[in-house]
């Protein structure tokens, strides 16, 4: 990395760009081809179809350059619309190395430099660096010099000499969580939707032929359902495999490395100083299967860039806890006991779950009394039972703790998550209480931070406990606003 020189990206991008461009313009290109063919063929169309993408690729290559100078990373690009992106090196939060199969074929990688502050547009993207160069550049940018000496073009997942064993590494048995992820559920919905349409058509056919074919139709339907299930299973497992193949979470001297991917490999590097905390989330499916996923709260990375914040994909609960303990340096924030929020908070969970359910329930009962069919009474019972189950689970989830300098909170039922935020990354406090909450002596405390969702929230804490928590973590800040100054 010669200092101050404007550098071109790797010339091998001349191979990658045209393929990219063709991919982008595939529709107009097809249109042009068809149009050309039906009109009796103007050879110019065919020429343009091949020439324009190639030309654009060359232009892109020639007009893009980058440099490291005066403690800044700068990227220049564009022919007509010249653009200069520039950011100080000490603002670099994360570095992503991503290689699509095309990139990997020619030994290249794309570097995305995350600087936070704004949205994705603020990110610098160097598309097309030689893989070795990219790793050198990354070490330079994150001042992770110890890695630069050691790191070779090892396969992701190989333990490098001098480094501790990975905090978490892919195992085939994680694949059982694939159907329980949100992608799994989306795929399931899609296949079921498409499948029912298909089945609907089959049904009509069967009716049309003859009644004694009905038995056969049932068999067909059953077979279709089973096949559907298998397809969904295969798709989700495949999706999980493609994304998380050879996943490794590895500590380097000043950074955490997350690498994964079967076809497109992705390697994210997080600066340890920017790691404000972690969040363990347990969506319903995963929770049933005793799994969880772990993400990092990274200063300067907001929820729009959450892809970079994944620490562990859906994996067994124990693995996630161990990884979190490794990342935080203590297992108590993630595995330790939580304090309950008291009876008022419990009553509030029940009231908030039951009241909205009670309105339609009462309406339905009134309808039955007024003469609607009696079996309708099942609905209000189900409604109230569901609400009660939800309330009980939300009560069980609710908790908080202050341990080892971390604020730990847990809440939610269907979207249960447990967050741990280091006190050094708390950049303010917010308490919110409605009139109802004040009357019950409760308040919702939020520690604001510069990453993730922007805050970590403890729902319905007893008001005094909320202030005590804030005071414990940042005594100087909160102490001056206490009604009776600190004891």
């Amino acid at each position: 990395m010669s200092d101050g020189q404007w550098l071109r990206l790797d010339p091998r991008m001349l191979l990658v760009h045209p393929i990219d461009e063709i991919r982008k313009y595939v529709v107009p290109l097809l249109a042009a081809a068809v149009f050309g063919a039906t009109q009796g063929g103007n050879p110019l169309f065919a020429l343009a179809a091949v020439g324009i993408p190639l030309g654009l690729g060359v232009v892109r290559y020639l007009t893009t350059s980058y440099r490291i100078a005066d403690g800044r990373v700068e990227l220049r690009r564009g022919l007509l619309n010249r653009q200069l992106l520039s950011t100080p090196i000490d603002r670099v939060r994360t570095i992503d190395l991503e290689s699509t199969p095309i990139h990997r074929l020619v030994g290249l990688t794309t570097m995305t430099i995350g600087t936070g502050g704004g949205g994705l547009s603020d990110n610098l993207k160097l598309d097309g660096l030689e893989a070795g160069d990219a790793q050198q550049l990354r070490s330079l940018l994150l001042a992770d010099s110890a890695v630069a000496a050691e790191e070779t073009e090892d396969d992701a997942g190989a333990t490098l000499p001098g480094l501790p064993p990975p905090a978490a590494a892919y195992e085939h048995r994680w694949l059982r969580f694939a159907p329980f992820t949100s992608t799994g559920i989306v795929i399931f919905g899609g296949v079921v939707g498409g499948g029912t349409q298909f089945l609907g058509e089959i049904d009509i056919d069967a009716d049309a032929i003859a009644e004694d074919l009905a038995a056969q139709a049932t068999v067909v339907v059953l077979a279709a359902v089973v096949a559907l299930g298998l397809i969904v299973l295969a798709l989700t497992v495949l999706g999980y495999l493609v994304t998380n193949w050879e996943f490794t979470l590895q500590r380097h001297p000043d950074t955490w490395h997350v690498s994964r991917g079967l076809l497109t490999t992705r390697e994210t590097t997080l600066d340890v100083d920017r790691l404000a905390g972690v969040s363990v989330s347990e969506p319903p499916g995963l929770r049933l299967a005793r799994g969880a996923r772990l993400s990092a709260i990274v200063t300067g990375l907001d929820k729009g860039q959450s892809g970079s914040a994944v620490l562990v994909p859906p994996a067994p609960d124990a693995v996630v806890r161990r990884a979190a303990a490794g990342v935080l340096g203590t297992d108590r924030p993630v595995s330790g006991p939580l304090e309950k929020h008291g009876r008022a908070a419990v009553r509030r969970r029940w009231a908030r779950a039951l009241l909205p359910a009670a309105v339609p329930a009462i309406y339905l009962v009134a309808a039955v009394v007024a003469g609607a069919p009696a079996p309708l009474l099942v609905l209000p019972v189900l409604l109230l039972a569901g609400a009660a189950a939800l309330a009980a689970d939300r009560v069980r989830s609710l908790g908080h703790a202050v341990v080892d300098g971390y604020l730990v909170t847990r809440s939610g039922s269907l979207l249960r998550h447990r967050d741990a935020l280091a006190s050094g990354h708390v950049i303010g406090w917010t308490t919110t209480d409605t009139w109802f909450q004040r009357r019950a002596g409760l308040t919702t405390l939020a520690a604001t931070t510069a990453g993730g969702q922007g805050k970590v929230e403890a729902l319905d804490l007893p008001a005094e406990r909320a202030v005590e928590v804030a005071h414990d973590l940042t005594p100087e800040l909160v102490g001056q606003f206490l009604a009776s100054p600190t004891r």
């Binding site: 200063t299 303010g428 919110t432 510069a450 969702q453 922007g454």
Partner: protein, 164 residues
């Protein structure tokens, strides 16, 4: 009676009393527009028998809103700026208190809408690096707001760092 140990006191200063008048005007306008909308509806939609009752109820609710809410807000809205922190309290039904250390203040923004200008009031918005929203003090007298904004900017610069 002994004071409980961990209770936040209110921030030291109230906003300008003119803010109450401003909010009365704003709430009155909102309620007025709602009532006029319903009145037009009642004149047009003649088949609905209870329309005058609905309108009457709306007038009562609107009047209560315009009378009660501004007073309530004025009672809640308070602010305090110390050498090391900014502390605000706002809202009415839902009360929100925010504390931000001076060293984390990123931008200080002074805004004045057309109605604000009529009353000589300003809104001071202090943002931190958190995506969870800024601290806001509404209804400050213009000269005071200017002074505070300068002081905050100076203090935040003195605190240094990149505020994250």
């Amino acid at each position: 009676m002994t004071e409980p140990a961990f209770v936040l006191r209110d921030p030291a200063h109230r906003v300008s009393p003119k803010a109450r008048t401003l909010w009365q005007l704003q709430c009155g306008l909102t309620a007025g527009i709602g009532v006029i909308g319903l009145l037009v509806g009642a004149l047009v939609w003649r088949e609905y028998d209870a329309r005058w009752w609905v309108l009457g109820a709306a007038v009562l609710v609107g009047a209560a809103y315009a009378v009660v809410v501004p007073r309530w807000r004025y009672a809640v809205h308070r602010w305090e700026i110390t050498d090391t922190a900014v502390y605000t309290q706002r809202g009415w039904w839902a009360r929100e208190r925010r504390i931000a250390p001076m060293s984390r203040v990123q931008t200080v923004d002074l805004a004045q809408g057309p109605i604000d200008r009529l009353f000589g009031l300003s809104t001071l918005t202090v943002t931190t690096a958190s995506a969870a929203g800024p601290l806001r003090i509404e209804g400050l007298d213009r000269p005071l707001a200017l002074e505070l904004s300068e002081r905050l900017t100076r203090n935040a610069e003195a605190a240094g760092g990149d505020a994250t």
